[in-house]
Amino acid sequence: MSHAHESNTKRIWTVFGILSVITIVEVIFGIIKPDSLHLNSFLGLNLLNWLFIILTGVKAYYIVYAFMHMEGERATLRNSVIWPLIFLVIYLLFILLTEAHYIFGVFKNSTIKWNF
């Protein structure tokens, strides 16, 4: 809340530590690309990409909740910002990626070669 005037420096540095570690882990996995993760998939997406997406979500959580101080705001503000965003993003991704996958199939199975 805006009334909280005590210093949060310790929390800030902790969050910085978490964000740094996550970024380093992401970069290491991005360079090594372990076969066990890269070649196995779940729900049409390989495990490595799942890992990146989840870690990105965790980073986003810490940036919004700690740095942007969403954790100190009222629940109404928190919900009115976060839920519409999450819902619309997932919805948009779902329809666009499904459609793109369909178009990919149309091109691939077409009798006309489009790229040669």
Binding site: T23, L39, I53, V64, E73, R74, F116
Partner: protein
């Protein structure tokens, strides 16, 4: 307007006399909803990138083959390190920003000044790094050839390592002068000519029998693909770009129509044409946000220096600008994942 940011208003009310909705001041709430709409804008761009990528999933460029540069390390393939560095710069400037906000809560002007200054420096380093990244992307490294059908051919040696056009292209006694305005009518000019002509690349390819062509297609292990005699199976690996046999390479190169060096909005040497468009547009739009964030930070920095917020007894303006700055960092976290990791 009688918002809470006005000096000595004391009352927690908005202009119309209402109580504070959602327990936030007018400015802060509006900043949150601006961020919400801007986040949806970026989501739209990234989703459009995902759309195009899924549409061309078999031929999309692999990020760790595109972004391989690191300052002062020429010829060394260093994927990811540079963007990781950029990510750290931005996260760290986010930390200094939140420390400035924290110092503002305690009305410690000197600390706010120092932390805001560090934030501005971080932002400038980031924008500069992005400019360097763009320079490398636009300049390109190896060069490629585009066929009449619009697909892109790259060159590898017999170990499968990329080969630049400059390493094998022949020099033919042909002159092709660039058409410029001063040589024709005022409306007559053309795009910059590539260093080598298609004929020179083809002649050089003939003279170097060890060079093979790598297509855009990402190879998938399957029984049909394994029997494909056009593919060089020693050099082609699962989930990597397909390398062709020498005979097939020669056939494909006969179809060449253009030499592509580096990247622009029409074509690029990395592969799918849309890849460079999205790269320029999304990182450019994000870079523009960083730039405007730096400008706003500078304005607020001078306001802190002349004591505007000291007089108000409230550093809420630093907090609101901080929200925007963190948002820019948040967007970069997603751009980083989508463009460089996945």
């Amino acid at each position: 307007m009688d918002t809470v940011t006005t000096a000595n208003s004391g009352e927690k009310i908005w202009g119309g006399g209402e109580n504070q909705p959602m327990g936030a001041s007018y400015g802060k709430l509006m900043m949150w909803f601006f961020i919400l709409s801007d986040a949806l804008t970026f989501s739209g761009f990234l989703a459009a990138y995902g759309f195009s990528r899924f549409k061309f999933i078999e031929t999309w460029p692999l990020a760790d083959e595109v972004f391989t540069h690191f300052p002062f390390m020429h010829g060394v393939s260093a994927p990811m390190y540079y963007v990781a560095f950029m990510t750290f710069i931005l996260i760290f400037s986010s930390v200094t920003m939140v420390l400035a906000v924290d110092a503002g809560h305690q009305l410690k002007k000197d600390k706010v000044v120092i932390y805001l200054f560090l934030t501005i420096i971080g932002g400038l380093i980031f924008v500069g790094s992005q400019a360097w990244e763009w320079k490398n992307f636009i300049k390109g490294e190896y060069g490629a050839v585009e066929t009449k059908g619009g697909s892109l051919l790259q060159f590898v040696d017999k170990e499968g390592h990329r080969v630049a056009l400059a390493d094998f292209a022949a020099t033919l006694p042909e002159e092709r002068e660039q058409l410029e305005r001063n040589k024709g009518k005022w409306f007559m000019d053309e795009a910059a000519l590539p260093t080598y002509s298609v004929a020179e690349v083809q002649a050089g390819f003939k003279a170097h029998p060890e060079i093979l062509i790598r297509t855009e297609v990402i190879y998938e292990d399957s029984s049909a693909n394994e029997k494909d005699t056009k593919i060089n199976h020693e050099l082609t690996k699962h989930k990597h770009k397909t390398v062709l046999t020498r005979e097939e390479s020669e056939l494909r190169l006969n179809q060449a129509s253009l030499v592509v060096e580096g990247a622009n909005l029409t074509r690029n040497e990395y592969g799918s044409k849309l890849f460079a468009d999205f790269f320029f547009f999304i990182t450019g739009f994000h870079g523009f946000h960083v730039f405007s964030g730096v400008v706003i930070n500078i304005i607020i920095f001078f306001n802190v220096l002349i004591g505007t917020y000291e007089k108000r007894r409230s550093y809420e303006m630093v907090e609101k600008v901080g929200l925007y700055w963190h948002f820019v960092d948040l967007v970069w976290v997603f751009v980083f994942t989508v463009f460089y990791l996945i």
